[in-house]
């Protein structure tokens, strides 16, 4: 029997036979996984907008907050100790969202990037990481939540068509902290993100929300790992994906591991996929491993289905033509998560991109 202890990662150059890599098209990973990419120091991430009190963005040597079993993360760490650090001082309530923007450097070389986001005790903030443009990028993002802190981390993958992005987004969550993540992946050629949660103190909670929309030829993988190592933590995972077009391929893996010490754990994970056309493929694998019976709840659900003809009929019976009805349903499907972003401008922009992709896929 396998264990989910380490998200089934194996720290060697992946061959594609490993559980953690079996869905990923390694040939399209631009050499980020095997060391054949040509790294270039680009420092592509920058703090955008007015400076806010208690918020600092610096560049320099960082040390890993948590060891990793992921071969890409370890390649990045072996390559450089330099990285970007966003710190939010303890007891700071940051009113406006903190924007981190990406200036992409193209696909002739690759970037191996390290990022740390540190939230001090009882601090509260929203960080929005906006990824656009074309790049080959391997990234090790560590998010460290001190006791009692509260962070909303929004990661927007609005990449250009050539981008290959392979990243781990690892949240290390201490006592009574609240972590909310929203991942939106609607652009790129290959996007592989490993959102990870390590609970290191009791009483904390993590809410991982995500949406992805893959069209012809795109590969988007989201591989969760929620590690309940301590008592009385709560986790919720809700990912929704839609696919349209030939060889659109998405992968969602939800690994939740409840260790023997994690009494009082409450966890639920859900993945729903909507197949809008033939020729697309959605893989969805929830995994739950439980080593203690003393828990509040543990559940998972996964559904993959086609467009609901009854919804279409209902909308069309009110005079709405088919293309508009489909758009309305798809928007509604994504809106549940996108509306959580809480920023009208971004929400409109994402919906417009989704409309756009949907229209292209419909042709």
């Amino acid at each position: 029997m396998t264990t989910l202890q380490s998200n089934l990662l194996e720290n060697h150059t992946p061959t594609g036979r490993e559980e953690a890599w079996r869905f990923t098209p390694l040939k399209r990973l631009a050499g980020l996984h095997d060391g054949s990419a040509t790294p270039e120091a680009r420092n592509s991430l920058a703090l955008n907008g007015a400076s806010q009190s208690g918020v600092t963005f610096t560049r320099g040597a960082i040390s890993a907050a948590s060891p990793s079993d992921d071969s890409i993360v370890n390649r990045i760490r072996n390559y450089t100790s330099d990285g970007a650090t966003l710190s939010i001082e303890k007891n700071t309530i940051v009113e406006s969202p903190i924007f981190l923007n990406r200036s992409s450097g193209g696909v002739d070389t690759a970037e191996l990037s390290r990022v740390q986001i540190k939230v001090g005790e009882h601090a509260k903030a929203t960080v929005i990481l906006e990824n656009t443009g074309d790049t080959h990028l391997a990234e090790d993002v560590e998010i460290v939540l001190a006791p009692g802190s509260d962070l909303t981390f929004i990661s927007l993958q609005e990449w250009g068509a050539k981008t290959v992005y392979a990243a781990t987004h690892n949240a290390i969550i201490d006592r009574d902290a609240t972590f909310k993540a929203i991942h939106v992946t609607i652009g790129g050629d290959v996007v592989r993100i490993l959102p990870k949660v390590e609970f290191v103190g009791p009483g904390a909670s993590a809410d991982l929300q995500g949406v992805y929309f893959a069209t012809a030829g795109q590969f988007f993988e989201h591989r969760m790992h929620v590690d309940h190592a301590v008592p009385h933590a709560k986790s919720n995972v809700n990912y929704k994906g839609a696919l349209a077009g030939d060889k659109a391929h998405t992968v969602w893996i939800g690994d939740v591991y409840i260790r023997a010490a994690a009494e009082g754990t409450d966890t639920y994970e859900l993945n729903r996929n909507l197949l809008l056309t033939d020729g697309a493929r959605a893989d969805s694998v929830p995994n739950l491993e439980i080593e203690t019976g003393e828990i509040v709840g543990a559940g998972h659900a996964s559904t993959t289905g086609r467009f609901d003809d009854e919804q279409l009929f209902y909308l069309m019976s009110r005079g709405i033509q088919e293309a508009d009805a489909r758009r309305l349903v798809v928007r509604g499907f994504f809106n549940e998560v996108i509306s959580l972003i809480g920023n009208e401008e971004i929400q409109e922009r994402l919906m417009a991109r989704i409309d756009d992709e949907l229209e292209k896929a419909g042709k």
């Binding site: 609901d308 003809d309 009854e310 919804q311 009929f313 209902y314 909308l315 069309m316 019976s317 009110r318 005079g319 709405i320 033509q321 088919e322 508009d324 009805a325 309305l328 349903v329 928007r331 509604g332 499907f333 994504f334 809106n335 549940e336 509306s339």
Partner: protein, 250 residues
């Protein structure tokens, strides 16, 4: 004055046991301003008639015609039927997650009217329709039919009827699942729509109680896929007293 004319309508549906004929030649003519009640036992094909006219893909038309002022309804797509002036208030309205009532109504009104209604006037229209049906204003922000009670779903259907102003409305068991107060409120909405737009109504029901609020001009008894008896409001009284036994066993 418009006319909805159904002639010799035959409809089949694919079941696990094979193709089954549900409607076996239905004849019915409805004119603007008229209310026709279709009454009949469970499984007689009443809902099939409603959904076939609206164009649900589950049903296959194997014979007959449906015309609206001479235009071939059966040749139209589902949205074209609505644009021609047909409206179906469903017995089981469908949930559309993530789409607000407000957005849905405005999208439908825009499609039917050919242009987006002016915002200020539209807000007033919606407000007045909701007040008429005693719906809380917060209703507009909820997702279409998601988590609605049975009564809320029916009010929402009739609210659309009032806002979208069709020529003919088919009400498929709109009275089912409603308590006395909700039945009255919903019925008043139908009557308002009738009076405002000279609406023709095809009212499908098992029970006579809704007919106390919405007076039918004609009553048709439906059994085994066709109309087996027709009359005036007095026929409903007879059904109330005797039930459908004589038609089912006939």
């Amino acid at each position: 004055m418009s006319t909805l004319e159904i002639r010799g309508l035959k409809v089949t549906v694919d079941t696990e046991q094979g193709v089954k004929e549900i409607l076996k030649g239905v004849d019915l003519t409805i004119k603007s301003g008229e209310t026709h009640a279709i009454m009949g036992p469970n499984g007689s094909g009443k809902s099939t008639l409603a959904y076939s006219i609206a164009g649900h893909p589950k049903y296959t038309i194997t014979g007959g015609t449906v015309t609206l002022d001479g235009a071939d309804v059966l040749d139209m797509s589902v949205d074209e039927r609505a644009k021609a002036g047909l409206f179906l208030a469903m017995q089981y309205p469908v949930e559309v997650p993530g789409v607000s009532v407000s957005n849905f109504l405005r999208t439908a009104a825009t499609a039917l009217r050919g242009e987006a209604p002016k915002l200020r006037e539209w807000v007033g229209e919606v407000k007045s329709a909701m007040e008429g049906l005693k719906m809380d204003p917060s209703f507009a922000q909820r997702n279409v039919n998601e988590g609605f009670s049975g009564g809320e779903k029916k009010r929402h259907e009739i609210m659309q009827l009032e806002l979208l102003k069709p020529k003919f409305a088919i009400l498929d068991e709109t009275d089912s699942g409603l308590d006395v107060d909700a039945l009255r409120i919903v019925s008043e909405g139908v009557v308002r729509a009738k009076e405002a737009n000279n609406l023709g109504v095809l009212l499908i029901t098992h029970y006579t109680r809704i007919l106390r609020y919405i007076q039918p001009d004609f009553v048709h008894v439906f059994a085994a896929g066709k109309v087996v008896e027709q009359g005036g409001p007095e026929l409903a009284e007879k059904l109330e007293a005797n039930g459908y036994a004589e038609y089912v066993n006939a």
